[in-house]
């Protein structure tokens, strides 16, 4: 029976790696939703742009992993702010339907603009990590797994500190609580929203680079599925709640690797959406969410 439990532990390790990536993307969704109640459909594609910047840094500029990660995060943060200014800010007071459709438009623009500029061809990430494999009995631990989990933990710790203690973080919490009251207290709401997009996008970029180095290949449409699944993760944990995104991401990663592990890998995307629908029907506010009654 040793082999079965080994298999389970192996799937847990794979699940945690994958789940960490989902959690990083889900954080961006949840922060943006928390502050302007918008499902930023373009978030997955921002991750794709981050992956391409990381790829450019490691291939053309021959940089190593950490500088590539930081550069990707920086430029993607700028992109996130730019998108917010151009596409979402003019619609601050428009109907939610209009904003949501715009977000879908931005998403398709990034995907197919990416295909136009970068060609639809799949690119291969160079091996930035040694192919070391740690073995404990029958369980294998790739170097990549360790890097993904470490990077995610570090980024999440930084994020938690920023949101809890920095001025920007406090402003973000104030704006998401009550936009008008925050602006009366002297908080610049527009800048705070920009900062939220910047932070969320840079986390997505980190996820993109990690996907690139872990799975080795990237393409302009790579953002769609992880983006949707990370959104599911955010809803699963309770959208607008930062720890919820982390929990949701890990759960999604584990479910997906178990569904693949028991031999239904073609159904794994369906499993993600199935979870989403169950959550939405049973507890739409998510695992960690509280019920809020709608007021007239």
């Amino acid at each position: 029976m040793g082999s079965v439990s080994d298999l389970i532990i192996q799937q847990i390790i794979n699940g945690i790696s994958l789940g960490s990536i989902y959690a990083l993307i889900a954080l961006g969704y949840t922060m943006v939703y928390g502050i302007i109640q918008l499902i930023n459909f373009a978030h997955g594609d921002i991750m794709m742009v981050g992956a391409y910047i990381g790829w450019f840094c490691t291939t053309t500029l021959m940089l190593s992993f950490i500088p590539a990660l930081i550069i990707a995060m920086f430029f993607t943060a700028l992109l996130g702010m730019l998108i917010e200014r151009i596409a979402y800010k003019p619609l601050r007071h428009a109907t939610r339907l209009a904003v949501l459709i715009t977000a879908i438009g931005v998403s398709f623009f990034l995907e197919y603009g990416g295909i136009l500029i970068l060609t639809p061809q799949t690119r291969t990430f160079p091996e930035v990590f040694p192919q070391t494999v740690y073995e404990f009995g029958n369980i294998t631990f790739k170097y990549g797994d360790v890097v993904i989990i470490l990077t995610t933990v570090i980024l999440m710790a930084i994020l938690t500190l920023v949101v809890k203690y920095s001025r920007v973080g406090k402003a973000m919490r104030a704006v998401s609580f009550d936009k008008e009251a925050a602006s009366l207290m002297g908080i610049n709401v527009d800048n705070t929203i920009s900062a939220t997009f910047a932070i969320g996008s840079s986390l997505a970029a980190a996820a993109g680079v990690l996907i690139g180095v872990y799975f080795n290949t990237i393409n302009p449409l790579m953002g769609i599925m992880p983006g949707l699944k990370a959104f599911v993760a955010a809803v699963l944990g309770g959208i607008g709640i930062i720890p919820g995104a982390m929990v949701g991401g890990l759960v999604m990663g584990l479910v997906e690797s178990f569904v693949s592990g028991i031999g239904f890998s073609t159904w794994r995307d369906a499993a993600a959406f199935f979870i989403l629908i169950i959550v939405l029907i049973v507890k739409p506010t998510g695992l960690l969410g509280k019920n809020i009654r709608e007021k007239v």
């Binding site: 459709i101 931005v106 159904w267």
Partner: protein, 310 residues
Amino acid sequence: MKLFNVKNLIRLLVLMVVYGIIQYLFINKAINPFYMMTLVLVCIYIILAVSQNIITGFTGQLALGHAGFMAIGAYMSALVVVRMQGSLVAGIIFGALMAAAAGMLIGLPTLRLRGDYLAIATLGLGEIVRIFFLNMDYLGGATGFSVPKTIDWTWAFWLMALSVFLMSSFINSSHGRACISVRENEIAAEAMGINTTKYKVMAFTMGAFFAGLAGAIYANYMYLIHPGTFSFLKSFEILAMVVLGGLGSITGSVVGAGVLTIISAGLADYPEFRMVIIALVMIILMVYRPNGLLGNKELKLDFLRIKKKG
């Protein structure tokens, strides 16, 4: 409402003239088969856009699973026609009814969700439908399912005309007005005694029915149906047509579907450009004209009418 009033007779006359001209041109080889296919696609997309408009434009529910219902219609009609040797009419009716049943089943729980959650739940369901057919080897699976071509332009055109007529009658009925009240203010509508869930499910089921019908026409026209056709991208394209024409305008959807389908056919060799243009049009429209080109106005044939004196 009388079925044979002057207005409807004029509409029928206009449709017959349009049909006659195109049929005449086709018989005389002035329209080549590629353009003919584009025209049939225009008919299919008009049905899809108007039915999406019933859900999104008139009832105000952003559902992104239209491609899923189209897929159900397409595959179920193909099941009847190919696997059970049924007739074309039986296939189309079965496909549309199955899509409507799926719409109702899906709508009952999910339509309780508000705005964004509904969008994402229906998107997820559309993807589940696609993955389901991808894994159904009995219906072709990942390689696609070939269906004999039994539908021609005449079928597509008149089915389109009938669908649009039925849907616009629905919108102009008291049920349709109830749907519009749900869009305008759900809480107020509920306070006025309108069963909002019932009307949301009704609009959703109706939209799913006609999406299934469009899917069935598509399946019996295109020789081959493939799960990849019915992805989220298709739902988005349909939504783009509705938004372009105007949320809450049936003639707007007809125009939007026509324009975007013809543009798509023109850019068939450059699919990336097509999507970039569609995406840009969507963003610019939403920023400057959030209700689409026509808003909720309808194009009318009023200029044909003789003005009364005084």
